[in-house]
Each structure stands twice: as C-alpha cells, then as structure tokens.
Amino acid sequence: MNIQRKKYPIFLAFILITTYLVFVDLVDGDWSSLENSLDNLSTFFYESLWPPNWKVIEAQSYPVCERNWDFLCSPAYIGITETLKIAFVATGLGFIIGLPLATLASRNLYSDSIAIPFRLLLSAMRTLPSIIWAIFFVILVGLGPISGVLAMTFYTIGYLGKLQYEAIEGLSNDPLDAAKAMGLKNSEIIQRVVIPETANNLISQLFFMFEYNVRHGSVIGIVGAGGIGYYISTYLKFLQYDKVIALLIILFIVVVIIDLISIKARSYFIDNATFKSPSLFENFFRVK
C-alpha cells in the first residue's frame, strides 16, 4: 500500500538515476569538453552571431530586382514564401492521401489483417525524418522545391496519418454501432459517421501539421530541397553566421504568427480549446 502511494516519487527517482548513469556511460566519465563551453558560446555569439546581419532583407545583387520594393527580392522573402508554399502544398497533399490510409489503419473500422499492414506503412513513412526523405527526393528529382514538397508530403502522410487514425479510434462506439447494425458499408460509415464526428480534430491536426512543416522547411532546405533552408545552408557554408541568425529570427517570427493564427483557427474546431471562439460557421456561413 505504501509503495503504491509513493509510486510517482520512486518512478521519478528511477528516471533521474538511470538517465544520469546512461549519460555517464555515454561520455565515458569524461566531462572535460564541457569545461570551456560557456566561454566558447560567448565568443561565438558576440564574434559571429550577434548582431544579426539584416542584409538578408535587402534585394539580392543577382538577378536584378524588377519589383517596386527591394524586400520582395530579398533572400528572406524569397526563402520564407517558398517555405510557406512548400509547407502548404505538402500539408494539403499529405492530408488528402493520409486520410484514406488512416481509415484503413483504424482497428474500429477494419480487421487487424487490414489495419496492421497500413499501420506499418504509416509507421515506415514516419520512421524516416523529413531530411532523409529530402535527400532521397533531391537524388530522385534534383534540387528545388519539388523535392521539398515530395519529402514533406511523405513525412506528413506518416505523421498526420497516425494522428488521424488515433482520432478515428477515439470515436465513441455508439454512432459506429448504430451504423453497423443498420448494415451500412464501411465507405458509408466513413462518409456519414467517421468524418463528421472527427472533423474538428482532423482540421485542428491540419493546422498543427502546417505549422510543423513550416518549421521543418528550414531543415529540408539544407539538403537542397528549396525554401529558407537553402539560404541558411548557403550562409553556413560561407561561415556567415550573422545572416543565419537573421534568417532564423525571421523564421521564428513567421512561426509565432502562424502559431497564433493556428491557435485562433483551431479554437473554432476543438470543443475543449483553451479559449473558445464562436463557431466559424456561425460567424461566416450561417444566416441569422
């Protein structure tokens, strides 16, 4: 009884001790590399990173800018808009392809003999990080945004598919039982019960995935798959860390803006959101 009551402190102590022991084993007891780390960080920060070089929001010297506003020809603008476009297309494609796969992977709709192979497929797609998918597609279709879109789409299918089948399996049994007892086919049940019942979750996940993909745009660009990552990778090669930090600050601001829009938008669709907006349909579509 006493052990039962103290299970959480015991569990926490177990995690702390095992983490420490594994860490010691990992570094072989040699902590000397940490000795000068703070000094190194300070030197690197003030000599290479700070202040940010805001030339990244000025027009590139080549090709010549033919737009009215220089910012529209800057690496920051070109990079971030390309990243946003890649993330948008990949999220949309990933959602459309992922949803049918997720329904097939749901154990409350299909038997294990069907669901488990589709779970394995989604799991395999998720196992490879988006950067590995990006390397694969850069080799396959060459440098540029198409390989970025394909890499992100594949990863999105795996990741979003898992979220989707978990939402479907979290459905209450009652609407499914009523539909199954009527003799409706699975395709009808998906259309008339599963999608309407999970719609709020699915849309909320879609926003989350878009924001996630924008953040990952900086990573996959490093291997030549387009977007802001391409510029970050170029500046890293030429040791222009002040430009890298400027681009990262811009990316951070964009992600924060998307996050705020996403929180607001998701609140329309989640019943237990932190704050609740009136229904989107009430605001825009309902005739009062």
């Binding site: 009652d174 199954k180 007892a181 009527m182 003799g183 009808e188 008339r192 019942e197």
Partner: protein, 229 residues
C-alpha cells in the same frame, strides 16, 4: 420458423473464458414488443449487440429474421444507450443516415439521393414532431428531442426489428411518455418487432412480454427467464 428472433443454448460474452449470460430458449415473433430487464453489467447490452450482429455469440444458435447470417441492409435498427447521433450535424443529416439504407451504396456515397429517400426523411421527422428543428444541430436539442431524432432515424430506415438500449433513461416522466408513445405507435401500426433493454421495471411492464437476466447461485453467468407482468 417465422420467429424474428430465435435462440437456443446461446452463450454470450466477450470471450469463452468470460461468459456473461446464457439464453436457453427464446422465440420472439413478428410485431411483438419485448423488454429485457436486469442489473447493470449482467449482459443486457451484450445480448442486444449479439442480436444486432455487432458481436458474435460464444456458442449456441441465434437466428435473426430467419437467417444465421448478418441481416440484410436496413432490416435491423439499433438505438444505443447514448443514441449514436452525430452531435455536430443537423437533424436532417442524422435521419438521412437511416434512410440511405433504402437506396444503393453508389447513390448514398455520391449524395445523389432518390426522391423517395428524402421523402422518408421528411416523413420520419414530421412523425416525431421535429419539422421545426430539421436544420438544428443535435447538440442544441434537449435530451427528449435527441431521442426522438434517434427514433426518426430508425423509422426512416424502415426496419423489421428495432433494438433499443435503455434509450428512455435520464428523461423526465412526461418526456418518457411522449417518446414511448411515439415508438409504440410506429411499431404497432407497422407490425415491427421491438426489443427494449430497460432497467426501470415500471417502463419494462409497458411491453407485451418481459424477460429478466439474472445471476444463478450455481452458475457464474446470468440466465434469461420470462417474467410475468
């Protein structure tokens, strides 16, 4: 063999190691209104799910509408305890779910519904006095109205057998009377067999026949017996 439900030596449960109930012999004919009573967790819902072909019996014979196989599309209407309505969707959408049993899968999926199907939806909604709520989302309706939507969905389906699982619970007496009357009138006038799981004995007595699932001292599982009402 013109029984709507016929069961002999039927054992039900979730696995052969945990048998919930045994039904030695049960015959329910067309047009009969039957109630099943018993304590919570005794196997009433499990029995209903077996009749609806949502669960398989562990052993024995269970014939529904003269067939050992799953009933034909639309033949069995099932109203779960929590009704199984799509809460964010409208009354029309929910009742249409039942009515699509009367058309081909292709038409149902494409949304090109036959006129007779739309008529069935509107008739069922009107029968349940919900015409003024036809475009209201379910979550905005009261408990009694939601139960009437669930009945309308089953009526639009046009089943031969209706299974209702404690669908009158959590309602006040007046609403129970209204919902019950609506269901009885429909079942009576269309010779539909109605099986209702109920824990309230007074309500169970409203049926033609009443069965009780109860534990036997000698057995680990419950047994179904007919009780006089």
């Amino acid at each position: 063999m013109c029984d709507v439900i016929y069961a002999t030596n039927l054992r039900i449960g979730y696995s052969s190691e945990s048998i919930l109930a045994e039904i030695k012999n049960l015959q329910i004919k067309k047009g009969e209104i039957v109630s099943i009573i018993g304590e919570s967790g005794i196997g009433k819902t499990t029995f209903l799910k077996n009749i609806a072909h949502l669960l398989k019996p562990i052993s024995g014979t269970l014939t529904i509408l003269n067939s050992d196989n799953a009933p034909e599309r639309g033949e069995v209407g099932y109203i779960p305890q929590k009704l199984g309505l799509i809460k964010h969707e409208t009354v029309f959408f929910n009742v249409l779910e039942g009515a699509i049993c009367n058309e081909s899968i292709l038409r149902s999926i494409s949304g090109l519904h036959e006129e007779k199907v739309i008529d069935k939806v509107e008739e069922a909604i009107e029968l349940m006095n919900l015409s003024n709520k036809i475009d209201e989302p379910i979550k905005r309706l009261s408990g009694g109205q939601q139960r009437r939507v669930a009945i309308a969905r089953t009526i639009a389906q046009g089943p031969k057998l209706i299974l209702a699982d404690e669908f009158l619970s959590e309602l006040d007496d007046k609403t129970v009377e209204n919902v019950w009357k609506a269901m009885m009138n429909y079942a009576d006038s269309n010779a539909i067999t109605l099986v209702i799981v109920e824990h309230n004995i007074e309500r169970a007595k409203l049926a033609n026949r009443c069965f009780k699932l109860e534990k036997n001292d000698k057995l680990e599982y419950s047994v179904l017996t007919e009780v006089k009402i």
